[in-house]
């Protein structure tokens, strides 16, 4: 019985390992390889040259990372400013035509963004918005905003109006109420929505390419020529940087939120000791 369970456990473990970790093995190996020939399972020569090129020789890498993050953060900041009031209205107020508003705001979840972007491309061109970071930011808004609205709505759903009434009775005006009562409650939800927004913005290729016309160099734009037929070692290294950037952005946000709560917790435990 016990052995059977151990066997089952091992099996489960291997399955997950195969599923998650194995696909990354060639990617990592390839990034450290030099002229890796078939049929060697391991590269015959390990080399840091691809990484050296990606991280040091090609100054475009850091610029592209910076551009990607800049766009992602601007997009997310705009999204939060737009989404919080909208979520407030959708959750807490009686609305005529609520379904219409929801359909409008959530439509970009279903309809792919490039459909709209291809349609508006020539209009953007006329207004001089192509080849600009601002234009790319505008293009990134519609595929990301619905997710932030959704996350904010989930938070608003769990915030009873009583809290704000209580703050009002203690003399808090509209701004104070939002800052001291509503915002702390919404923060985890907003962070979740922001994570998605950042992630989606960072991984956009086509719409950045169309609106940026190859002039706004985000990391996916920089990376594409390499993975569609360039040097595999450099392509692998870039892919890892790209994936790493996405994962790191999420982890940092997650950590920041955890720290925010830990600080509160620490203050709490300090109080108990006194």
């Amino acid at each position: 019985m016990k052995r059977q369970r151990l066997l089952a456990n091992t099996f489960l473990f291997i399955f997950l390992l195969m599923f998650i970790v194995l696909p990354f093995v060639p990617l990592v190996l390839s990034s450290f390889s030099y002229n890796w020939k078939w049929p060697n399972v391991l590269p015959e020569i390990f080399s840091l040259s691809a990484w050296k090129y990606v991280l040091f020789d090609n100054s475009g890498t850091w610029q592209a990372i910076g551009t990607s993050l800049l766009i992602a953060f601007i997009v997310t900041a705009i999204n939060i400013i737009l989404a919080v009031p909208a979520a407030n209205a959708l959750v807490r107020y009686p609305l005529k035509g609520r379904w219409l508003f929801e359909a409008i705001i959530f439509a970009p979840i279903v309809i792919p963004a490039f459909v709209a972007v291809l349609g508006i491309h020539l209009t953007f061109l006329r207004f001089g918005l192509t080849e600009t970071i601002f234009g790319v930011v505008l293009a990134h808004l519609s595929p990301t905003l619905p997710y932030v609205v959704r996350a904010a709505m989930t938070s608003y759903n769990t915030l009873s109006i009583d809290w704000e009434d209580q703050a009002r009775m203690l003399g808090a005006g509209p701004l104070s109420r939002f800052y001291h009562v509503v915002l702390p409650h919404l923060l985890p939800g907003i962070a979740a929505g922001a994570s998605l927004s950042i992630l989606i913005s960072l991984s956009q290729y086509l719409i950045t390419f169309i609106i940026g016309s190859g002039q706004v160099m985000t990391l996916p734009i920089l990376l594409f020529p390499f993975i569609s037929g360039g040097d595999p070692a450099i392509a692998s290294a870039y892919s890892l940087v790209f994936a790493g950037m996405a994962v790191a952005a999420l982890l940092i946000l997650d950590l920041a939120l955890k720290r925010y709560y830990k600080k509160k917790q620490a203050a709490a435990s300090k109080g108990v000791r006194e």
Binding site: P94, D162, W163, D165, Q166, A167, R168, M169, L170, G171, A172, G173, S176, H180, V181, P184, K264, A267, A268, K270, G271, V272, E274
Partner: protein, 357 residues
């Protein structure tokens, strides 16, 4: 004088789908609450007492009428500027602030300096018996402690009126008793005007200087506890207060539906009144079956159905011809009667209370 005056205050809630009939409406309320008074609004849920409280707080807008405090009209002043305080059913302590910051929140909104804020918050914590809890977070306190902290938060900025919306209803019965005593003491100490909403009769009777009984959006009667009990203005009030022995009658004849058993009352002054209330302690039980009604006294005859022990005395339920009557008797007397026994109940006409419909 900073009395709170409510002048013909009115509020309708419309059903969003059908515009014609309001789902609920608060009929015009006219009321003056004295400074320092402890005033309770008592009524079943959905009677409009919380609506009235929210109108006073400014959290709801009245359709008609005015609210004055002293010589200032505040009908259209937003809640945050009224300098009222409110304690809700739930403690609603902000979970991301410790108790001290929670209590000091109102002072912070008034731009009081931090050192003074904290000092006053700590002092107030002492008053509600939470000394030393200031650094804790709300989730580290029990329900009763949280509600005490909420009370401290309401009191610390010295509100002109303290509004309380069933603040103890979410607590255990034993804690409720404790909170009542605390609130009584604090009211005496601070002398704040309190408007207290509750559906709990005992709570209202225990705490209040005056009580307003509400039902279906109407303010039925405003009086002190004793007067409400002894002289309820209507059957609705009486039945909500849980008064027993309410007899229906007409034009001077009260008693059982059965005509032959009607109790004739030779008292023409009461001819407009249609109901008679006999408090259980006004009924004398006797095993002497020879007694007859007189001009001063009415007699009911019946059979003992039930004897219940209740806080040091017994409640005896007697089945008369067509109605059940309750009377309270001492433990000693209870030993002399047994269930199924034939008894007579007598009441002095003088002490009886008549009401109209």
């Amino acid at each position: 004088m900073n009395q709170l005056r409510i002048i013909q205050l009115e509020k309708k809630f419309e059903d969003r789908k059908k515009d014609e009939n309001p789902v609920f409406s608060l009929k015009p309320v006219h009321l003056t609450i004295k400074e320092g008074e402890f005033f309770s609004l008592l009524g079943p849920s959905g009677c409009g007492k919380t609506t009235l409280l929210k109108l006073l707080a400014g959290l709801e807008q009245a359709d008609q009428g005015e609210i004055w405090i002293g010589e200032t009209e505040i009908t259209n002043v937003p809640p945050e500027s009224r300098n009222f305080a409110m304690v809700f059913q739930q403690p609603l302590l902000f979970p991301h602030m410790n108790i001290e910051d929670n209590i000091a929140f109102g002072l912070k909104m008034k731009k009081v300096k931090r050192a003074e804020r904290i000092e006053r918050a700590r002092e107030m914590l002492g008053h509600v018996g939470l000394k030393g809890y200031g650094q804790r977070f709300p989730d580290e306190l029990s329900g009763g402690q949280q509600q005490r902290a909420a009370l401290a938060r309401a009191l610390v900025s010295d509100p002109r009126v303290l509004l309380m919306d069933e603040p103890f209803s979410a607590l255990d019965p034993s804690l409720r008793e404790e909170m009542r005593i605390l609130l009584s003491r604090i009211h005496q100490e601070f002398g704040t005007t309190v408007v207290f909403v509750t559906h709990d009769r005992e709570e209202a009777f225990h705490l209040s200087d005056r009580i307003g009984v509400m039902s279906d959006g109407n303010l039925l009667q405003v009086a002190g506890a004793k007067e409400l009990y002894e002289k309820p203005a209507s059957i609705q009030v009486a039945s909500f207060l849980g008064l027993k022995n309410i007899l229906k009658g007409s034009a001077g004849k009260f008693g059982m539906e059965n005509r032959s058993q009607q109790v004739e009352l030779a008292d023409s002054r009461k001819s407009s009144m249609t109901h008679l209330i006999i408090h259980p302690e006004k009924l004398q039980l006797s095993t002497d079956l020879e007694k007859q009604s007189t001009a001063e006294e009415i007699i009911f005859e019946g059979i003992v159905k039930q004897l219940r022990f209740n806080h040091g005395f017994y409640l005896c339920t007697v089945q008369t011809e067509n109605t059940l009557l309750e009377c309270s008797i001492s433990s000693r007397q209870a030993e002399t009667v047994s269930i199924g026994q034939k008894v007579k109940l007598s009441a002095q006409l003088k002490g009886l209370h008549f009401v109209s419909r």
